[in-house]
Amino acid sequence: MANPPNEEEFQLSLTTDTPAATDVVRDGILARVQAALGDKIVESLLKPGDDIWVRVRTESWRETAVILRDLGFSYFDFLSAIDWLPSPFGRGEDDPTEPAPVRDNTIRHGYTGGDTRIQMLARVVDPTTSMGINLKADVPDDNAHIESWTTVYAGANWHEREAWEMFGITFDGHPDLRHIYLPTDFEGFPLRKDFPLLARIVKPWPGIVDVEPMPGGDQDEPAQDGDAQ
């Protein structure tokens, strides 16, 4: 990184954590959801004017879906997972001739926290109000499996197949857990962070992203034309 232009300053000036202070609609929705789900919720988060996040217990993953569907969240948006392990390969920009750099591999969870490496992530929406909920659930580290949603939302079928082949999460009760994108004999779970992006291993990334000094440009001036990369 050649001469970073007062990066920290911009960072501070841009992150404003005070948008809409209250959000009556989402407050009401979250209250309803909390009442309906009860102690199935581990943690919930509401960002006013933005979205709702709810983390539920692993064992009540399917029940949550049933309750939310009956609560009006009948639109199945997507289902996937997040691997919170920081990638041991960084961003695939290591110089292969040098010894691998030491990386911090402590897991930092996102909103609503978490206890395990892999978390489920799904979103259901109420089509009448266009308000959705992001659902999360921990997936056990040792034996990654969770209940299937296929009997609740038919559309979850393909999404679970994708999550299965990409993250190695087994969905109990899924009728047809086959590969959807990858070849049948594919080994490994590509979207897990410890699965290397082979293209970056085979051939080192030449364009290790750097800001070259603009010809005639002032280094301290922020880019006006958006040519930020």
Partner: protein, 390 residues
């Protein structure tokens, strides 16, 4: 309407069961037909394994992944501005529209908003890519059903729109024009006048297609009552866009959620259709092109003055957080769930593409139809391979 759809489906199932019983008694042998990966009806490399009884489909398994490029993995080794170049290729006919939700998600995480002028131009380009995308659908629809002339009209008139997009962004197919905090450039001189004339041409194109295709009895008999999707099934499968609105769900993300875009500043209408069949899906799309031309026409008249780029640091680091942004793309709801850990690039991006959900209904929907109806239904569901496989 839902009742009607349910009833149709039930009678359908009953007739299927009756057929199956007859076949069991006669012990007729089925046939497995491989539609694709190279087949004109799949416009891309989709493979549909269909088990047939005569010409009737008994069981179907769409097999995708021939074009899987692993964008979700690739985003993890890219910086935020680099990701737009990737997501351009998801729905390659409406490329610009793919960039917008990702940029909006990044902007949301950074807590910035594009200037008003940029929002307007973004909306215009978004709608232009919708027109370019759906007008090709309207032409392609004819080809799938055997009418060869409409597609040439579609290509002819889509060319004007592509020229507009090229004029503004420099790229016909993959503009990569959207930037975090605004747009790369302002509009060129004379572009707005040109846009007005092109929008008139596009409306005439819609009229032509309506005359040539939608008014045709054969077209209607091929599409009406074919591939009926009831409302609740559509919701369960996460169908979106025109496919959902054709099932009678009055839900358009452009209208029903507040994004820093300019849709709420103009007067337009969300079209729905109660039938949920192939005809309804095609018809809703036709109306959507018309509405898009109206949106564009109104927006080019009201572009506010000002910069097209807000102040952003040269090296974009997105603060830690998670954001979900979805927009009503030409194919349906397209969303990005961006997880940031304060790095140069995203920690994880979940790309929710419309066609993946729209296609996941096919094993249910194609059961019991005839081979020609597979083509009709696939055409009316309107998928782009890149959008399924990502």
């Amino acid at each position: 309407m839902t009742l009607l759809g349910d009833r149709q489906q039930l009678s359908y199932i009953a007739s299927q069961a009756a057929d199956a019983r007859v076949n069991l008694e006669l012990e007729t042998e089925g046939m497995t037909l491989n539609i694709g990966p190279q087949h004109p009806a799949t416009h891309g490399t989709l493979r549909i394994i269909a088990r047939l009884d005569g010409e009737q489909v008994v069981w179907v398994d769409p097999s995708c992944g021939y074009m899987h490029r692993g964008y979700e993995k690739l985003t993890e080794v890219r910086t935020y501005p680099q990701v737009t170049a990737l997501v351009n290729r998801i729905d390659w006919l409406g490329s610009f529209a793919n960039e917008v939700p990702f940029i909006l998600a990044a902007e949301k995480l950074m807590g910035i908003e594009a200037p008003l002028r940029a929002q307007h131009i973004r909306t215009i380009l978004f709608e232009l890519s919708r027109i370019a995308n759906v007008s090709l659908f309207l032409g392609d629809l004819g080809v799938q059903l055997g009418a060869i002339t409409p597609v040439f009209m579609a290509f002819r008139d889509r060319e004007y729109v592509l020229n507009l997009i090229e004029g503004a962004t420099g790229g016909r197919f993959h503009p990569n024009f959207d930037r975090i905090g605004g747009l790369k450039d302002d509009l060129p001189a004379g572009w707005i006048d040109e846009t007005r004339t092109v929008m008139k041409k596009l409306r005439r194109f819609c009229d032509e297609i309506e005359d040539l295709l939608f008014g045709n009895e054969i077209f209607q008999s091929r599409t009406r009552g074919i591939g009926v999707i009831p409302r609740d099934i559509a919701l369960q499968y996460g169908m979106s866009g025109a496919n959902l609105r054709a099932s009678g769900v009055d839900w358009d993300l452009r209208r029903d959620q507040s994004l820093p875009m300019a849709w709420d500043k103009v007067d337009w209408k969300v079209w729905t259709h109660p039938d949920g069949d192939s005809f309804a899906r095609c018809w809703v799309r036709l109306q959507e092109v018309r509405e898009s031309t109206r949106i564009v026409e109104q927006l080019v008249d009201t572009i506010p003055a000002g910069p097209v780029m807000t102040k952003v640091p040269r090296i974009i680091k997105v603060p830690e957080g998670e954001a979900w942004v979805c927009t009503e793309n030409p194919l349906g709801e397209m969303g990005y769930y961006v997880v940031s850990q304060g790095d140069l690039g995203p920690f994880r991006v979940k790309i929710r593409s419309a066609s993946f959900n729209n296609m996941s209904i096919t094993p249910w929907l194609l059961k019991g139809v005839y081979v020609p109806d597979i083509v009709t239904i696939l055409a009316s569901l309107y998928f782009i391979l890149g959008d399924i496989d990502r």
